[in-house]
Amino acid sequence: MLPGGNMQSNTNIKLPLAFILYALAALVISQFVLFANNDVLAMGQFRIPDIWMGAHFLLLGYAIMIAMGAMYQLVPVALLAPIWNQTFGFIQYIITAIGVTAFSIMLGVAPDKALYGGIIAIIGIIMFIVQMIITISRQEKKNMMTGFVLGAISCFFLTIAAGFMLAWNLSNGGISSHGTILSTHITLGVAGWFTLLIFGFSYKLVPMFSLSHGYSMKWAKPAFMTYIVGLAILISSFWLDAALIATIGWFVLMTGFFFFVLDIREILNKRIKKKLDKPFSFSLIAIFNGLGVHILAFIFSISGIQTTSVWGWLIFLYVMAWIIFSILGYLYKIVPFLWWTHKYSNKIGNEKVPTLKEMIDEKNSVILFTLFIISTAGLTVSGLLYINILVFIFQGLLAVTSLLYALSIIRVLTK
């Protein structure tokens, strides 16, 4: 028999939880900032300070902080490598939280000074990258998930390098290719970092939550390689200013995403748990949203559509319907697990303890997820059609839903 060995994670739950709580606050703030600026959203104007503030609270404050917190929790259990230094992790949390908050606010109120907040955020992010690289380097047996996580971290590093150049340019000027760097920054951050990370963790989480066995993961490597090549082609198209190359890039990215979907489909087909938990199903819906957005991007690209607002709303859909929806669903599994481990893991075997499912209100989650879908879809359509009143209503709905969602997660901590 093969011994199990020591696979305990030993992560202090305060560390991932601190990131997650900050992120929930940032999600709510971002949505209310965007709601306060619904008039400019309705005009399809995304490159103004207040929208930068809302977008960075959403992407840096919410999505990245959640990703960091989730990685502190998931890397030890998924890659079987303990976190290198948890004290360093807490320091990294404080620096990143201060940096992200300062950077996002300054982007809105004093963009020329955003660089200073950006520098603090970058220090925090680099500390995180160092933490993860050392942690992953201790993994005994590298696998495809290691590749996805390292690929994601590499894109993350390049994203912040590009972001720093943008912030520098806002403060000091002198860089003429601001727009090209911005496109590179968005692609590396949104498609590179988040997508590769979600791909990687999905290979662990989807089989675990669906109790799937006997699947092959045969498309994992092609998905990884293809997506990386697609990113390189798309980014090169920005610098070469070549529409044809951009179309090829979108095609290759779509193909990479499709390979990933093939694997997920096989995992789900071979699942034992036939009735899936609702929040997890929401994360699965996000995967198909992601494929849909990639298909749309390819169609728009090959059709020669260059309207800024169309691409702006497509990026919005990419962020919300794929990345944010994935995270919203998984969080309903991750937070109950963290809290259960903290409160009940020492009681199992001694007394009756709740199951993870009993720690969440699944019925309410369905309502919240439905509201997220309605508000995101409604916002996109009304934004594309420039219908101010509907943008106001759907962004308002999204802000209120985000608040209720954050409260529902915090409620788990009272169970």
């Binding site: 028999m1 994670s9 998924a78 481990t341 993870l356």
Partner: protein, 100 residues
């Protein structure tokens, strides 16, 4: 009732918190051994290597067995070979998961 049977019965009360099903019905327990000094050895697995519930379930098993009167030392041997498969589940567990 022999100590071995008492241990087996007690393990029906250790629930996998993710699935809400006890570890015996899930087929996670491969063997229960009791020596002449009433020391207990459990050979068991989990549904997947790197299961986040790794520590909790292992501790839960140990704690539940320790509540049985007369038990000596308890040794939990967590193994990954043979790997767990759905075939190891009881009909009751399969039914709960909609797999039957």
């Amino acid at each position: 009732m022999s100590l071995e049977k008492k241990v087996g019965a007690a393990l029906f009360e250790v629930i996998d918190p993710e699935l809400g099903i006890n570890i015996m019905d899930l087929g996670l327990v491969y063997g229960i051994g009791v020596d002449t000094e009433d020391n207990v050895k459990i050979v068991m697995t989990l549904t997947t290597p790197g299961c986040p519930m790794h520590d909790s379930i292992k501790i839960g098993v140990k704690r539940r067995i320790s509540q049985i009167e007369g038990v000596g030392d308890i040794d939990i041997d967590l193994v990954w070979e043979p790997a767990w498969s759905p075939a190891k589940m009881s009909d009751r567990a399969k039914e709960r998961l909609g797999f039957a």
